[in-house]
């Protein structure tokens, strides 16, 4: 019998895991925090997220067509970037802020460098940095205080920093945990972000190392800088939970090895506290992660796993 067989090198079976499924898990992990955002900050949150996602995906599609590459929007990575860009802007920001942030994130931070896997910084954070540099007023003053419904610039960290004067009260810890406080669209609900993050750890999408070491480093340093009573404000008051679980863990821009991840996360934590305590901004999560993104290739170069049967170095 004449049979036509397929020839290939082993292995002949592959796991079910795909990039698409991983990104889908990340989106599922972000959903609870999105729901909280709509609940506390209103419908505009959802509008901004949708706009941001659509612009990210369209930008990726158009650029891939122009550059004659395979269109890979089905991997959902652009959707994740879109959601994260929106999570990093105030919920009252004008629609074009979301669009500009996503377009910049995908075009400049991701596609120009070769698309998924080749960007050396987290695209969503690059988008945010671009928006902060270009439209700082829109990025730092449009926060809603869910308790009073007032639009304010006084996030808990801004109050801690003394930017708004001493008259303002810090929100209660319970409100901070739930997300009932002024802040960027998707960063405020610590508890729901943690649930989403734990889901990612449970699904094996991320490891616990980066979030735990990052948050732990911030906690320890906060104790020294502002005293034990302020530790929880530092943990829940800004973008740390979102950053530690969903941004610092971005595969492409964090070190590969466990040891490298520890160094990287500790660096993120130290830089965050450095910016928060002596820097010009009340919040330092996004810049710390971006700076550590840049150090990632260096960490990967010097931290490699010990070869089985190899001499100890």
């Amino acid at each position: 019998m004449e049979i036509k067989l397929i020839g290939s090198s082993s292995p002949h079976i592959r796991s079910e895991q795909t990039t698409h499924k991983i990104m889908l898990d990340v989106l599922i992990g972000l959903l609870p925090a999105l729901a909280a955002s709509v609940f506390y900050f209103g419908f505009n949150s959802l509008v901004l997220v949708v706009l941001s996602v659509v612009s990210a995906v369209v930008t990726e599609y158009v650029l891939q067509v122009i550059m004659k590459k395979d269109v890979a929007i089905a991997d959902l990575s652009a959707v994740v970037t879109g959601v994260l860009v929106a999570f990093n802007i105030p919920s009252t920001a004008p629609w074009w802020i979301a669009v500009m942030g996503s377009v910049f994130a995908i075009a400049i931070a991701k596609q120009i460098f070769g698309g998924i896997g080749f960007n050396f910084m987290n695209p969503a954070l690059v988008g945010r940095a671009f928006l902060m540099a270009s439209w700082p007023v829109h990025m730092t003053t449009g926060f809603i205080d869910p308790i009073t419904d007032a639009v304010t610039a006084a996030t808990p960290l801004a109050i801690l920093k003394g930017v708004e004067g001493e008259a303002l009260q810090l929100p209660s810890l319970m409100d901070m945990l739930l997300g009932r406080m002024p802040g960027s669209l998707g960063e405020t609900s610590a508890i729901l972000l943690i649930i989403g993050g734990v889901y990612l750890i449970y699904r094996g999408v991320i490891k616990w190392i980066i979030p735990v070491v990052y948050i732990g480093t911030v906690a320890v340093l906060a104790m020294f800088v502002d005293g034990p009573s302020m530790v929880l404000y530092h943990i829940f008051g800004g973008g740390l939970i979102l950053g530690a679980f969903f941004m610092a863990t971005d595969y492409v821009t964090c070190p590969i090895t466990d040891k490298g991840k520890i160094i990287y996360a500790a660096g993120c934590g130290a830089l965050t506290m450095l910016i928060r305590s002596v820097g010009g901004y009340p919040e330092g999560v996004s810049y710390s992660i971006l700076l550590m993104n840049i150090l990632t290739p260096l960490i990967d170069k010097y931290v490699s796993p010990k070869l089985f049967g190899g001499a100890k170095k």
Binding site: S8, H12, I256
Partner: protein, 442 residues
Amino acid sequence: MSTKVFTFKGGIHPPHYKKQTESLPIENAIEPKFVVIPLSQHIGAPCDPLVQVGDKVKVGQKIGESKAFVSAPVHASVSGTVKKIEPHITTGGSKVNCITIESDGLFEVHESVKPKGKVEDYSKEEILAIIKEAGMTGMGGAGFPTHVKLSPPKDKTIDTLILNGAECEPFLTADHRIMLEKPEQVVTGAKAVMKALGVNKCFIAIEKNKPDAIETMQKAVSGTDGMEIIPLEAKYPQGDEKRIINAVTGREVPSGGLPMDVGCVVDNVGTIATIGNVFLTGMPLVQRVTTVTGSAVKNPKNLYIRIGTLFKDIIEQCGGFSEEPGKIINGGPMMGIVQYTDDVPAIKGTSGILILNKKDAQVPEPSNCIRCGKCVDACPVNLQPFMISRLAILNNFEEAEKYYAADCIECGSCSFICPAKRPLVETIRLAKKEVISKRKKA
């Protein structure tokens, strides 16, 4: 038996796919009308034929031999007439000199085949000679001549024999059935090898997904000094010899080293059972158990086949293809080698014949590496597969060497786990070859 489950760091958990055949008893294959016996089924020097076209041969008669130490003789697996001695395609993909014997259907046993009696009556050297004469090679797939493995240089002290009953390759159940149905052969073979090595400790390591095999072997060794069953975690590549040594003894074979460097010898249970059979019946390695399975074979079976039977004859007696086949593989799905025809003979190392349908055989389309690090976590040797693969694609083999490309054991865990479906081990293999050939030149 200890309740602890032993294992190594890294590895993957592929689906077992063993349900199809694990509860099917070993069946004697339909006797072939002719066999094609390659003169090289092992690592080392190929054999020279000892017979000529037209000669009458009997079962168990030695028909090929080499003067080289690293080699193993081959024997006639049927009685009949030598029809051809010429190159034929073999499972390795190349043409190898083969002896074709037309069976007379009588299966007359050669005079040299006589039960050896008790292992205790033989000296170490005699046992080694018997093993060599029987054409023993590793039957797990690699095909290294057993007597060579059992003759370490004087400066290496061996204290432990490990019988590899992990059978961590998905789909395959041949070793599992051997442990269930031929435990006395395994124990006899183990005794012989222990004596040949001069060791008094033998661990039989079995993955815990074969509880019945653990139980049967437990019973078989009870009352035998120095033999112990070690339950292993069911994880791939648990059956790799360096991984199994690490799991069982905690020892780490140094990079570039061999099991004997840490005082161990590892042999597949199928190999050991065959050595047992050599002592019990005198019959050299002319038959083996092989698992015929996969999504495109009608009736999967564990078959006791004669070496040299063509794949197509074996597949035919398993009901033939249930649908159009996509791949025919010699061995398991993780490390087995694809065949481009079913006109190849089964050899001593054919632990399984896996037939996948067109859908399962599809090679996935790779996308960009997302640096998820899953390959790094899965690598049992602690390599960084994504990095070596990238360097291999760039033809930067010097840099790949710094990432220990030559230490890759080619288990395929990285390619299996990769969400971007990248050809990791496929490209690393290339780097490994380049690095090793460069070292040889230097």
